[in-house]
């Protein structure tokens, strides 16, 4: 028999009447399993023979056929044989084969019928040489090919496996006769074969589906269960979901614990339950949902309310859940961060307390140092100024040294206080309209004593016609004095310290001031660090005991508070030049909110000049200060501007108001000023009176007007008015 060529009798193929299609659920599982390839585990589970054996046995018994289940490779997973096919026994006995098609007597391994059925998706019917038939039904779901069921006609007389010899013996024939006997078996007709194929196909797929469904259910249940356990198990976070209107749809154990509502009472309720009354009034819950819908997520920290009405500080994270672009609801995570907040608050309080303490300490130290310093200062100056009689030149000189040291101590104490202010962000500047010419003269006269002692000449080159600056006069003085004193300190005897001012080419809108000395210069590496706190260049330290090394640091801070910058240019042995910039006063900037396009177009920019005279001949400066305060009350804050003193000379008895109004509005403001000044109440008998109030209308051009042009025009009007007054006075 081994010599016989493998032969297959093709009995035909056909597609079963009902091609199995994928249901939604199937696709879900297939999708879950990786879309195109079903995982090996799932295949094994689907084709678990133990599950299949009952239905296959039933089929086999009914139709008196042997049934086998194979995987997609044709490997037999299990058989139910109410009879063993003789030919298989013949072949197995002859060849000792154990795998391959259990029914086919051909030698194809694995059975081509399985491959064929899986390829075409149809039922394959075959007959062997003996005329016995078997049908092969593919097991398919969509694109997935899982395996096949083979049902074969068998000798039904022997339901149990028998050896060939036993079969032959039972038949009382030789093996040859057995073969012939087999041929005499009435082959089933194709119609019957086909009907049984249909049945098997339907049965197989129904069961495959059922099994598929069962596995799906089991898996979902397992996943859900695991997820539920996970969600339930989370204790430190409240996790809950809401539908798109904010009604709670799930509520975990953490939520019950943290938010104090059990699931049963909160389900279906609006989540605004956990908000404070104020938040609900301010529609915060709706706003948060809205934000989550818009950007996908809303995070917030704030007070939330538990079921027992106690508040806690919560970190809330709302995520919008979307399915195919449709909002399905929200997932919410709430965490109680009250403790963290407490810790953060405590830390912040500790930091503030430390800062406050530091400030208190330094201001206390500064206060305590100032008191003895004052006594020393007074006694020294009393002696120096000859209050107790004339001094010998030596006594005078030594007292002079003492006084210098007192002054140095005094400035160090001031520096110490300024440093505290830098640290506590309290170093402020109060900028005003300021003329540098006078201020520099003033500073130079202050520094003159120091310079004279060292025989150093102080010079200043102040360009004529410099614009006013917008700076704090006391602070500018402080910066200049510090730089000049440094220059004096480092310049050799009979050297020069020069103060210069010029408009800054690089920094538009700034004036540049410089202080240069003819000293020893600063090396490049030191140029970087001299503006740092407590930096004192070693090699120059012996030049003088030069304070705390805070001067340049404070100067830098002060300049930057003005919006300017400070830097140094230096060459060793050729001296140093310190530069710093300060903003130029800009009428346009100060009056920006008056010089708006609508105001300009409507001609609503009015310049009012208020000339004040006093009842007595001389107008005192403090009266002018008070008058300014009165005028400040007369203008509309945020709409009108009371200009700073616009003249170099002083005292100036003219005040200017730039008002965002027309002639009619001027009448209103004017009458208010007259009324207020009449009520002027001063400790002194002096009283300002309005000598004139002029309406200087700014250009009411229509169309495009540059704000800078208007500002320039207003400035012209101001100067013209001041000049006119001077002339009439003269």
């Amino acid at each position: 028999m081994t010599s016989e060529a493998p032969r297959r009798v093709d009995a035909g193929q056909y597609l079963p009447p009902a091609t199995p299609l994928l249901s939604h659920r199937d696709s879900g599982l297939l999708h879950e399993s990786g879309n195109t390839e079903v995982s090996a585990t799932l295949r094994t589970e689907l084709l678990d023979f133990d599950a299949w054996s009952e239905i296959l046995t039933m089929y086999g018994r009914t139709l008196r056929v042997a049934v086998a289940l194979t995987d997609s490779q044709g490997q037999v997973l299990g058989k139910c044989h109410n009879a063993q096919p003789v030919w298989r026994l013949v072949r197995d006995a002859a060849r000792g084969w154990s795998s391959g098609c259990p029914f086919c007597i051909t030698t194809c391994v694995p059975c081509t019928a399985v491959a064929e059925a899986l390829r075409t998706g149809g039922v394959v019917m075959m007959r062997d040489r003996a005329g016995l038939a078997h049908v092969t039904v593919p097991l398919l779901l969509g694109e997935q090919r899982f395996g096949a069921i083979i049902a074969g006609q068998v000798f039904d007389r022997y339901p149990e496996p028998l050896s060939l010899r036993r079969v032959a013996k039972d038949f009382g024939v030789s093996a040859q006769r057995l073969w012939e006997l087999a041929r005499e078996q009435r082959p089933v007709s194709n119609t019957i074969l086909r009907a049984s194929g249909d049945l098997l196909f339907a049965l197989g797929h129904a069961f495959l589906r059922q099994r598929y469904g069962a596995i799906l259910e089991a898996k979902l249940a397992e996943t859900n269960g695991r997820f539920r356990l996970l969600v339930e198990g989370v204790r430190d976070y409240a996790l809950f979901t809401m539908d798109s209107t904010g009604r709670v749809t799930s509520w975990n154990g953490g939520a019950e614990r943290l938010l104090g509502y059990v699931a049963a009472e909160i389900m279906g309720q609006n989540f605004s339950y956990i908000f404070t009354r104020d938040d609900i009034q301010n529609r915060v819950p709706e706003k948060q949902l809205h934000k989550a819908l818009e950007v996908g997520r809303a995070e917030d920290e704030g007070w939330r309310v538990r079921g027992n009405r106690k508040q806690f500080w919560a970190n809330v994270n709302i995520t919008a859940l979307e399915d195919a672009g449709l909002a399905r609801g929200f997932a919410v995570i709430v965490q109680d961060v009250t403790e963290q907040r407490k810790i953060a608050t405590v830390l912040e309080e500790a930091r503030q307390e430390r800062e406050c303490l530091q400030e208190k300490l330094l201001s206390h130290v500064s206060h305590e140092l100032r008191t003895p310093l004052t006594a020393i200062y007074l006694f020294t100056t009393n002696l120096l100024d000859g209050v107790f009689g004339d001094l010998t030149p030596d006594q005078h000189e030594h007292l002079r040294f003492a006084l210098d040291n007192v002054k140095q101590l005094k400035s160090m104490v001031s520096d110490l206080l300024d440093i505290t202010r830098v640290d506590t962000h309290k170093l402020t500047v109060e900028p005003q309209h300021l003329s540098l010419t006078k201020l520099i003269d003033d500073v130079l006269s202050t520094c003159l004593t120091n310079a004279t002692v060292k025989n150093i000449s102080l010079r200043s080159h102040v360009a004529p016609g410099l614009p006013f600056i917008w700076a704090d006069p006391a602070r500018v003085r402080q910066i200049l004095i510090n730089l000049i004193d440094n220059g004096i300190k480092f310049a050799p005897a009979s050297g020069t310290v020069t103060v210069q001012t010029r408009t800054s080419a690089e920094d538009e809108g700034f004036l540049c001031l410089s202080v240069s000395d003819t000293g020893c210069g600063i090396s490049p590496e030191n140029r970087e660090i001299i503006f740092d706190r407590l930096s004192q260049v070693k090699s120059t330290a012996e030049a003088s005991r030069s304070g705390l090394g805070l001067g340049l640091f404070i100067s830098k801070e002060l300049v930057s508070r003005h919006g300017g910058r400070i830097w140094v240019e230096s060459e060793l042995e050729h001296g140093s030049t310190f530069y710093f910039t300060l903003p130029v006063f800009s009428l346009a900037k100060l009056c920006a909110h008056v010089f708006t396009a609508p105001n300009l177009e409507a001609g609503c920019v009015t310049l009012i000049a208020v000339d004040v005279a006093a009842v007595e001949v001389v107008v005192q400066a403090d009266i002018l200060l008070e008058t300014r305060k009165v005028l400040e009350r007369c203008i509309r804050p945020g709409q009108d501007v009371l200009l700073p003193s616009m003249s170099d000379a002083e005292p100036v008895e003219t005040f200017f108001i730039v008002a965002g109004t027309d002639a009619k509005g001027f009448e209103v403001i004017a009458s208010r000023i007259v009324r207020e000044l009449q009520n002027f109440d001063s400790a002194s008998r002096l009283k300002p009176v309005i000598s004139s109030m002029t309406l200087l209308v700014a250009p009411g051009q229509s169309g495009e007007v540059q704000i800078s042009e208007v500002a320039a025009r207003v400035e012209q009007l101001v100067q013209a008015h001041l000049l006119g007054k001077e002339n009439s006075n003269g």
Binding site: S363, S366, H367, E368, R370, T371, P372, L373, T374, A375, Y377, L378, F379, T381, N382, D385, V387, F388, V406, K410, L417, R421, K426, Q432, L434, P473, A474, Q620, A621, S645, E650, P651, A683
Partner: protein, 133 residues
Amino acid sequence: MDEKKILIIDDDQHLLLGLTARLKAKGYRVICAADGVSAIAVARKEVPHLVILDLGLPAGGGFCVLERMRDLADLVAIPVIVLSARDPADNEKRALDAGAVAFFQKPPDNHEFLSAIRHALGETVALSTFLKT
């Protein structure tokens, strides 16, 4: 013309000594008080032309003294110059609002301080000397 009377209220004996010497040399009559309570009593008795007031005082701080003086008809018109070691950033405005005519931080510059005294006493003095702006 009578010499002007100046009352210095300060608890630092050395300051009193030094400042008294200086002011006497300038031709003023000087009286002293070292605490808030006696200061008011001395002021009511002597009625000085000017008060130089420290802020940190025993028995009622400087601000108390200022307020009391503003409440008493015989003292309300006396100009007060505050001379304190305290930070002007916190105290200058408060002192001026409470009725002081000037605030000086210790140690004051002698020249400026004397100018302010002369001005407060209504003596002629160049305006620019005490104009801060």
